[in-house]
């Protein structure tokens, strides 16, 4: 009798607790591809402009999830409960994930040659194919620093007397310190940036510290701070600044000396149907689809062919337009990811040093 009670109770608890346990996370049904991106307008644009053609060709539907956190990928692969297929993420994440063997190599034979020819070689990696370009740019408040009088280069961003108001730069959020910007501010020419003179860059960071009003933790916060005038200028994602400007915020973006980087399609280790996942990626890098997405969300399309479908005015806002891309430089991912003698990459070393620098003053 007692034993049966115990059994009943145990089963009861199990049933009650089941929704919280996540023993079996919401796994996609057969015929469904799970794409993990960053949510918001971009996902909606992909849903409208990529998914229909993909579904028509494969018969698969697409479910979106967000965000593709490294920790979640690791937990999924380790537990064998893989409920994601395709990820859209940045190179630092790609490198961290592939170092831990959490990504599946891409199958380039499943991608149209003609599309690949229009995508810069830097964006075609064994485990990642570029989809959209973001960039760290000079983003400023147009009320405090009118368009003619705003900083046009990093040296001017560092110049608190010439350009009044607080500054905002990133800390946390998985982004390394902006050492390239520090060196540019100190007069290092763009073509001599890499390998980075780390000590020189940190000396410039020491000079930056007193004029920073807030080390922002997310790009959304950076845009809010600049829009509200808590900082007159900062270093954050230019396309986000453009979005805010279109939304009526007093924000301007100067693409000069910007640092270009990519968000990329990757496959999670143990992806359920690689062929279908590759078919999705192939559809997503289509020039016309990318042009349509860029019209809605102003990130640079990775496929150069997209500009054939965009007007000059639309292109002017994009960081990869022929005019804007000339003013910027590519982040040298190889430099940031080359392990040093201690087995740690500069990204890890510099991010750790950043935290120490911040905390120990």
């Amino acid at each position: 009798m007692k034993r049966r009670d115990l059994l009943k109770t145990t089963v009861g608890v199990g049933v009650l607790a089941a929704p919280f346990l996540h023993i079996r996370p919401a796994r996609a049904d057969k015929g469904e591809l799970v794409v993990v991106s960053w949510g918001g307008d971009y996902d909606q644009a992909v849903r409208d402009l990529v998914v229909p053609a993909f579904s028509k060709a494969t018969g698969y539907s697409v479910k979106f999830d967000a965000p593709p956190e490294n920790a979640k990928v690791k937990a999924m692969v380790q537990s064998g409960n893989i409920s994601w297929d395709v990820l859209l993420t940045d190179i630092p994440a790609v490198l961290t994930l592939s170092k831990d063997n959490l990504l599946e190599p891409l199958d380039y034979s499943a991608i149209d040659r003609a599309k690949l020819d229009k995508i810069p070689k830097e964006l075609q990696r064994s485990h990642a194919l570029g989809q959209r370009l973001y960039s760290f740019n000079i983003v400023y408040n147009t009320t405090q620093l009118p368009p003619a009088k705003h900083p046009h280069n990093w040296a001017e961003v560092w110049d608190a007397k010439g350009f009044p108001g607080g500054r905002t730069f990133n800390f946390q959020g998985g982004i390394e310190p902006q050492l390239e910007m520090a060196l540019l501010a100190d007069g290092v020419p763009v073509d001599k940036l890499y390998p980075l003179d780390v000590e020189r860059a940190w000396r410039m960071y020491d000079k930056l510290r007193p004029i920073v009003s807030k080390w922002y933790t997310s790009h959304a916060q950076a845009i809010q701070l600049i829009g509200a005038g808590e900082a007159s200028v900062g270093c954050t994602i230019g396309p986000r600044g453009i979005t805010a400007k279109r939304g009526g915020a007093p924000i301007g973006v100067d693409y000069n000396q910007g640092k270009l980087a990519s968000d990329n399609w990757c496959l999670i280790k143990g992806v359920r149907d690689k062929k279908i996942a590759m078919a999705f990626i192939n559809q997503a890098i289509d020039a016309r689809a990318q042009a349509g997405i860029a019209q809605r969300v102003p990130y640079g399309p990775s496929n150069g062919g997209a500009f054939e479908f965009l007007t000059a005015a639309e292109a002017a806002d994009l960081n990869t337009s022929p005019e804007n891309i000339k003013e910027q430089f590519w982040q040298n991912v190889e430099w940031w990811s080359q392990p040093g003698p201690d087995g740690k990459t500069p990204r890890e070393t510099q991010a750790a040093r950043f935290a120490k620098w911040m905390l120990n003053g």
Binding site: A17, N70, T96, G166, Q172, G174, K214, W215, E230, L359
Partner: protein
């Protein structure tokens, strides 16, 4: 106890706790000691790095200050609620609960609009001529405390209210009739009787404050970088779960130590509300 039917009543909660809390917690504890076999490397790395001490000190400073401020603000409020008419008490209760109606993130972003250099408060102060330059209310300890106390106050008020409303008003009347001044009656009768509420409220607020992550990160400056932030960085940026687990274990041990001292001072029975 376990043979009686009543004993079984505790079983569901116990099982739930073991599955949901004890088991994962012990796994995290294990991570901090294992990395291809037993190792103390994570603890060596943590203990050898002053940055983590600084983060721990920041965390404790923020949490203790929040607890003190909540008590300072919450005690008179709870006293008013316990002694006022029922209808007024209900209104006060709703007012105390309002912060719960919005998400932490929205609330924290809203503080930036209010407290910023060009925010509502500073513009008002400058319009009134009370200050020429904006008062710095954000991205320092002031901002963090405003944001945190706002959220944590109900956790202080409700335990206090629960205890205070059980205090027999006649005890105060007796004290007065025996010649005690209102002040003396409060200090010698009401205050000691409300101690279990103080203890419960402080423990609750302190423990919650230690785990705060979003508010210090968004409203604080470099002096308010907490251990929770460091743990997040190790988990998400570096995928170094061993070190993250170590930081978590150290935080748990330190909090356990503080809790032990606390219960020594106030008495365990008061913490569990049997005082």
């Amino acid at each position: 106890m376990w043979r009686s039917r009543e004993g079984l009543l505790v079983l569901p909660a116990l099982l739930f706790y073991i599955v949901i809390y004890i088991y994962p917690l012990s796994r995290i504890g294990a991570w901090s000691f294992f990395d291809d076999g037993f190792t103390l490397a994570f603890y060596r790395e943590m203990l050898g790095e002053s940055m983590y001490y600084r983060a721990l000190a920041n965390t404790l400073e923020i949490s203790l200050l929040s607890t003190a401020l909540c008590l300072l603000l919450g005690y008179p409020l709870a006293y008013l609620m316990a002694t006022t008419a029922l209808r007024a008490r209900r209104v006060l209760m709703i007012l105390v609960l309002i912060p719960f109606w919005t998400s932490v993130l929205v609330r924290t972003f809203a503080w930036i609009v209010i407290l910023g250099n060009n925010g509502l408060l500073n513009r008002m102060l400058m319009a009134l001529g009370l200050t020429d330059t904006p008062v710095k209310l954000l991205f320092n300890m002031t901002g963090v405390q405003l944001g945190m106390v706002h959220v944590l106050l109900p956790f202080m008020v409700f335990p206090l209210l629960a205890v205070m409303s059980r205090i027999d008003p006649n005890t105060l009347r007796v004290a007065r009739s025996l010649g005690a001044s209102p002040r003396r009656a409060f200090i010698e009768v009401f205050l000691p009787l409300s101690r279990p509420g103080i203890a419960a409220g402080c423990v609750l607020v302190f423990l919650l404050a230690v785990g705060f992550y979003v508010t210090p990160a968004l409203l604080g400056g470099p002096g308010q970088v907490t251990l929770a932030t460091m743990i997040d960085m190790q988990i998400n940026t570096f995928l170094n779960w061993g070190l993250a687990a170590t930081l978590g274990v150290v935080l748990l041990v330190v909090i356990g130590g503080i809790f032990a001292v606390f219960s020594r001072v106030l008495g365990v029975r008061e913490l569990t509300g049997n005082g």
